[in-house]
Each structure stands twice: as C-alpha cells, then as structure tokens.
C-alpha cells in the first residue's frame, strides 16, 4: 500500500553554494579517523592496539554493552594513535592509511535462502549493523529487538544536503540487496519514501513499500515520514537506515566487501567549486576542501548538514554517518543595530522588518552568528509553523528541561529524534538549543526507562 504524502508545515532554507552535480573521485586521503562519539551511547572496547595494521573491514572495536556489534575499519592501514579524553574516553582513532586498500573478504550471502538470524549475524559481524538506527531514543538499533517496520528516506530537503537522487544513481542492485535483507529483519514492511517528482533509483524496488512525499523541509526527515505512515507508540520499535548506507550494506551482501566509500556533497558559500566527491568514511577533509577551493579562511566546516551536523576543523574528518560537508562563513562579528534595522540578507520566519518572505526563492549566504542572545522561551506559536509532527514542540522541550519523564512520554518523546527539532531551533527567537535539549531528554529516558 503505497501512499502519497503531502507535508504543509515547514521551511525551505535556500542557501548559496549548492553542490554542482558532477562527481569526482576524492584524492586518496592519508589519514582517517573514527570518532566513537558518532555512535551515540556506544562504549568502544578496542580489539586492535595502537600500531596494529589491518585490512579494510577488519574489526577495530566492539560495543562494550553489546558485544556482538562490531565496528570495522573503513580502509586498510595502521592504527597510529588512540586519542583519549577525560576518564580515558576514546575521542578519536587515528588511522594511517595504506596507499591502496586490501579488503577482508566475507562470504557473500544468498539472500533468497538466508534466514533473519543469519542476516542479522552477518550484518553484526561485518560492521554494517551500526548503520541501523532505532526509534525510540534515536540510538543504534539493538540486535535483540524486532522492529514493527523499517523506514528509509530517499528524499532530501535539508539545506544543501547531498541529493539522494544523484548520489544513488547506478546503485540499484546494492539498494535492492540491502532492502531485501532488511525486509527479513522486521515483522512489518520496509517503507521507503521518495520525492514525488523525483526519479530516485529507489523507485520501483521490491521487498519494500515505496511512498511518495512532497513539501518543504523537514519532509525529507525520516521522523516526519514515520509519523505519517506508522507512528511509534509506546512499547514499539522502528528502525531507520539512511539510503546512502543501504549502498554499503548492499555491496557487502553482494560481494562480501565492506566498501566504505560514499558520495559526499561538498557545499556551502565558502567553496568556489562545490561539487560531489566519492570519499571514504572517516577520511580527512583537508584535501577535499582544497579540491573544492576553500575561499574564506574564517569559515565553519561541518560534517553533515547545516542544521544537524557537527563542527569539525579544516583538518577534521568526515563523520561516520555523513554524506555532506558544509563550509559556511563564521559569524563572529558584531553588527551595528542588527536587532532593529531592516534585514534583507538573512532568513526570518516573521516579517518584523525582515524581508525574506518577499523572496522565497532567493538564495542566502548565512553565517554562524546567533543573531541575538540566548533567552528564556517567550514567543509561542512560531515553532508549530515549521513543525509537521502532531506533537507540541514547546511543551515537549519544557518537559525535557524539567526532566518530567511522565510528561515527556505522554507528549510523544518516543517518536522524535533531535533532528526533528532542527527547524524549531533555527527559528527560535530565544536561541534555545532544541536539539541538545531533546538529545538529553532522550538519554535521560533511555537511562530511566530503557
């Protein structure tokens, strides 16, 4: 049963510096890094020691809480250092890459015959499991759960994020293999959402229900799609997988090779030649930035999209789950009478002497300035305009802040992920950190309720 979903509430943020749809091979990076922080609440237990050499796909560490979940190396090389922070928490694993990759070779799985248990064990052992995320709590999926459905978003609406219609071209067989495997892991269907007018490679695949969706951001967020198709109730679990990660899973299932290469959009107004590159997970972004011609030294490099990504330095590394690298100007400057003068060059959700409503198609060059100071919640009703879930955003945020577990549960905390609150955070007049509040709320619930 395929559905046509229309989202009305939301906001498209049009930014300058869209990646041109040409694909180049990224120059081979010399250093790679894996940040265990990318795997929220995973406590890494190292398998390899500093100085050890390994092939691509070899296990680097496993999850202490869940020993069957292995995390593997994206390239072949040497573990040059394990950087630790306070309480010896591992911040980063630095890898010195070989000039060319040699891969661990797994036996390909015959998907037509494999059982759910075999598929699960295969994904766990080969390092593909971390690509599966669960709701509630927006964490890495727990292998013992049986989800009621699995969701894949094949639609991109986040500002300047990598366009899945482009990055998935030619990957039909990998996508199909991954979807077939996933369909055996759930009692329900695998739901795939594609843009209404897109020619997504995901259209027409089998072992899944393909829905079409249209509307402004966050229509492409999987959380919005779950809410429309089959919302998460208390006691239920759904899994989500990013479409670009299906390619890695699919290739592993078909060829037995963990190929961590994905197509990454380099975008943002600080790049002279924004375009797409085939890059490997964890690779250093420095060479990529010079390929794409970084213009402004005082700029913010973000792994992920501009609403939910992480700040990395210009010598930083591509995050484990990211397919976009954004570079936008830093906004660490004062602006004379910035609070009352008419504004034409920034986006606003109001019309208080702000004129972005007059030019909805105009592309803006936004910087990282907060445009005002942090305040208590004052304005009401503005979040609802950009928030398409049937949840009261202000009320759930306040419930998280006062750590009222009953209220958080009642208001729909099981259905949300931090990224669902990116737009409300963007328009927030009080400059409150919504995504952080929700993340902390989810962590608290996970700890207390589990």
């Amino acid at each position: 049963m395929s559905r046509d979903i229309k989202i009305k509430k939301g906001l498209n943020i049009n930014l300058k510096g869209e990646a041109e749809k040409t694909l180049s091979k990224a120059p081979r990076a010399a250093t790679f890094a894996i940040r265990p922080k990318d795997f929220h609440l995973v406590t890494p237990k190292m398998v390899l020691k500093e100085g050890a050499s390994f092939k691509a796909g070899e296990v680097l560490f496993y999850d202490k809480n869940n020993e069957s979940v292995k995390f593997v190396a994206p390239v072949s090389g040497t573990l040059s250092s394990i950087e630790r922070g306070a309480k010896r928490v591992i911040n980063q694993l630095l890898i010195q890459a070989d000039a060319e990759d040699t891969y661990v070779s797994h036996a390909p799985l015959d998907l037509s015959k494999a059982s759910a248990e075999e598929i699960k064990a295969h994904l766990l052992a080969t390092g593909c499991w971390p690509f599966i995320t669960q709701r509630p709590y927006h964490l890495m999926a727990h292998p013992d759960h049986s989800p009621k459905a699995i969701f894949v978003s094949g639609y991109t609406t986040a500002p300047l994020a990598a366009d899945l219609d482009f990055t998935l071209i030619g990957k039909e067989s990998e996508l199909q293999a991954a979807l077939t495997a996933l369909s055996k892991l759930t009692s329900g269907p695998v739901h795939v959402c594609v843009g209404r007018d897109s020619n997504s490679p995901l259209k027409g695949l089998k072992d899944c229900q393909v829905h079409s969706i249209s509307g402004p951001h966050p229509a492409g967020n999987v959380g919005v799609q779950i809410a429309q198709i089959d919302p998460v109730n208390k006691g239920e679990v759904v899994w989500t997988v990013k479409a670009e990660d299906l390619v890695i899973i699919g290739e592993l299932l078909l060829t037995g090779k963990f190929n961590a290469e994905r197509i990454v959009a380099l975008a943002g107004s600080c790049l002279a030649a924004p375009q797409y590159y085939a890059a490997i997970i964890g690779s250093e972004v420095g060479p990529l930035l010079s390929e794409a011609q970084l213009l402004e030294p005082n700029s913010r490099v973000i792994s992920g999209d501009v609403l939910s990504g992480h700040t990395i330095s210009q010598a930083g590394f591509l995050g484990y789950f990211d397919n976009t690298i954004m570079v936008i100007p830093e906004g660490d400057d004062y602006e004379l009478f910035g609070w009352n003068k008419p504004v034409f060059d920034k986006i606003s959700s109001t019309r208080a002497l702000t004129f972005s409503w007059m030019q909805p198609k105009k592309k803006y060059d936004l910087n990282t300035n907060t445009n005002g100071e942090h305040r208590a919640f004052v304005v009401t009703g503005n979040y609802e305009e950009v928030f398409p879930l049937d949840i009261y955003p202000l009320q759930i945020l306040k419930a998280c802040m006062v750590q009222d577990l009953d209220q958080m549960e009642a208001l729909g905390m099981y259905e949300v992920a931090p990224e669902d609150f990116a737009l409300t955070e963007f328009v927030c007049v009080s400059k409150q950190p919504h995504q952080k509040i929700i993340r902390e709320g989810l962590d608290l619930m996970y700890k207390e309720i589990g």
Binding site: P231, A352, G372, K436
Partner: protein, 408 residues
C-alpha cells in the same frame, strides 16, 4: 580604534564581573553580539527577542503620539480654549502644536519614569542574579504610560512599576517565567492602591483634579468634567460623543487607549509581522461581540427596565462596545503577550474568547469601575496554563488512543 573594537575590548574586560550584564545590555543595544552557534543548527534565523519586542513598540508608537495630542486636546477643550473637532480624523482643532506640547509635557514624564524605574529594577536584578538584562520590559515600559490616566502622580507610577516588575515578573524568574502580565499588574496595583486617581470623572482630562481643588478652595473657575464614555454610560447618562470621534479617539480615557483606528493599525502591524497572535485578537473580538449581543438581547426582550443601573451599558449596541474603553487596546496589545497568554494555538482561541466575553461582562456589571478589560486579562492570565493543560491533554489522549486502537 573604532567604536566596535573599543566596546569589544571593554566587554572582554568586564567578562565575568558583576557589572557585566549591565554593560552587555547597553552593548547589545548598539551591536548584535558576536556570538556564534555551536553544535545544533549552525545557522539561525534573524529574529531575536529584541527585534520581536521592538516590533511591538513600533506598533505602539502611533498610539503614544496620538495620546500626547489627545491629552492636550482634552485639556484645552475642557478649559474652553479650543473648539471640538469638526473635520474627521485630520481636524486642525486636534492636530495642533499647542496640543502636542501640552500633551508631551504630561505624557513624556510618564514614559521616562516608566522606563527609568522599570529598567533600573531590571538591571538591578540582572546584576544580582547574574543573568543578562532581558527585553521584556521594553514593551511593558511602553505599555504602562499608555494605560494610566494622564494626571497620575509620578511617585505613584514609580511605586507601581517597582511592584509590578518585582512581584509581577522578577520573583518568578524574569521575562518568560511570569504568570501575570507585568503592565497589567502595575495597573492593577495602581487601581487598588490609589483608586481615586484611577477612576471617577476627575482623572481622565489633564488638569481636572487641579481645577476641582481650586474650586474647593473657593476660586472662581469653571469645573472640568472629564468623564469617560464608560463612566457616563454606567450612570445611565448619554455618551455625548459622535460615533466617528470615538472611533478616531477624540475622547477622554487612559493615554493611549482611545483611538480605535490607531489600535487597529497597530493590530495590523502585529498580525502582518507575525509577532502577535491573530487568533487571540480575533477570538477576543468574537467573545466581546457575543457578550454584547447577549446583553442587547436581554434589553430587547424587555427583561430589564430602563431604571436599572445596568441599563445604560447593557443597551449599548454590541459593536459600540468594541470602540469605547480599553477593550481594543487590551485585546491587541496586552492579551497577546505570549508569556502570560495561552501557548497552544487551540488554547489561544479559548483564552481570547473569554477575555472579550468577561471584559464586557465586568464592564456592564461593575458600575463603580466599568473598565473590565484589564481584570479580564489578568483573570485569563491565571487560567491560561489550565486551558493549555486541557489542550495538551487532548493531544496526549489522541496518542494513547492510537495505541489502544492498535491493540484492540
């Protein structure tokens, strides 16, 4: 070294010190700070609280300027020095320099005292508690002079402002945390502490009280009657004003509340800029009309005699109620306060409706003091969290039902 740089140096110097919030308040008034985002959204919309509050102030400015002219006009009209308006909104009798000068002389001190005292308290609390000075008072400080009689002694206003800011807001934790609208708390304080200065027929026209004192002292002068329309109606007298004069605002009343026309313009600004809730304004209007129609119906049905003390206001046509007294001002500028009003969109409809409804009810049933809107808003401020609670409960029930249907 430019101003920007020297201020930045000063800011770094004051960082972490006691006076930092006070300095930052002045600094951010001039420059939007150089704060940047961290993880979370890396970009932010341009709107901040200062811009939001500033928009409300700009919407209030026409009412303030009109209020100055009106203060002078009412005074000179009462003393017989000018004649009544004759030519619609742009009557020359009204828009005269002498009116403005007199009115400004009366009204600007109110503005200065309101901002001066209120901001002093705000700064003090910010420094003591070590948080930034919040912008909430920028609007409150503008509202206060507009909702008091023009002759209110400045020391009374100061005490009321201190009470309103401390008890109405700061004890709850400052802007965003308060339960009652601070401007209305200030007005309520004045009303209950100094009722003779807030009601009756001697306070609404500048100089009326003074003239009454002179008369009492036996001086040979004419008395000035400065009754509001509501006051007249409550005593079953006729209104004594032309319809359009009431709409334009050439009538006695609190400083900024009289001109329905300019309030409507302010409402248009607030709704268009998406700063204030059109839901509250519209439902407030509907509530007032419904209550007005009920009273008109009672009169039409002959259930009340014309001798009754309530007859004058009850028989006032429902649409006229919208133009007289502070109803329009209250609904547009005070009921829409997002902090003290209902916070859910559905709740706003209910909240606004009852403000309009109860305003007219108080107006008709309270002959001693027929201005009901500020009490109605304060009452609904108290009930707003309850309204929201039930609206949110609806959402919670819907979520639970979804699960039940599934398991059934």
């Amino acid at each position: 070294m430019g101003l920007k740089q020297s201020l930045h140096t000063l800011k770094e110097k004051y960082k972490g010190q006691k006076m930092a919030p006070a300095f930052n308040a002045l600094h951010t008034f001039l420059y939007t700070p150089n704060e940047i985002t961290h993880d979370g959204t890396h970009i932010k919309a341009v709107d901040d609280l200062k811009r939001t509050m500033n928009t409300v102030i700009m919407a209030l400015v026409p009412c303030l300027i009109f209020g100055m002219f009106n203060a002078g006009y009412q005074h000179y009209l009462a003393t017989g020095e000018i004649t009544a308006v004759s030519n619609g909104f742009f009557s020359t009798e009204f828009w005269q320099w002498s009116n403005l000068v007199f009115g400004a002389w009366k009204v600007l001190p109110l503005v200065v005292v309101s901002y001066g005292v209120g901001l002093a308290v705000e700064f003090l609390f910010a420094v003591i508690k070590g948080h930034e000075v919040e912008e909430g008072y920028l609007v409150t400080g503008m509202l206060v002079p507009l909702i008091v009689p023009v002759d209110i002694p400045l020391w009374m206003l100061s005490i009321a402002v201190i009470f309103g800011v401390v008890i109405g807001k700061e004890v709850f934790g400052g802007t965003g945390m308060n339960i009652l609208n601070p401007a209305l708390t200030i007005r309520a304080f004045l009303f209950f502490a100094y009722p003779t200065w807030m009601s009756g027929d001697k306070v609404w026209v500048a100089g009326a009280q003074e003239r009454a004192n002179q008369l009492a002292a036996g001086m040979d002068v004419d008395s000035i009657s400065g009754e509001t329309i509501l006051g007249s109606l409550a005593q079953n007298k006729s209104m004594g004003y032309e319809l359009w004069d009431m709409f334009y605002g050439f009538i006695p009343g609190s400083v900024g509340e009289t001109s329905t026309l300019l309030i409507l313009i302010g409402a248009a600004v607030l709704i268009f800029s998406k700063i204030a809730s059109w839901r509250i304004m519209l439902s407030g209007l509907i509530g007032a009309v419904v209550m007005g129609l009920i009273f008109n119906g009672v009169v039409d049905a002959g259930w009340i005699s014309s001798n009754s003390g309530f007859y004058g206001l009850m028989s006032t046509p429902y649409w006229l109620h919208l133009m007289i007294g502070g109803l329009a001002f209250g609904i547009v500028f005070m009921a829409t306060d997002p902090v003290t009003g209902a916070q859910t969109n559905k709740g706003k409809w209910i909240y606004g409706f009852f403000i309009g409804f109860i305003s007219i009810m108080i107006r008709v049933f309270n002959p001693a003091y027929p201005e009901g809107v500020f009490l109605a808003i304060l009452l609904m401020n108290v009930f707003a969290p309850t309204i929201d609670h039930y609206v949110v409960q609806g959402n919670i029930k819907r979520r639970l039902n979804r699960l039940k249907v599934k398991n059934a």
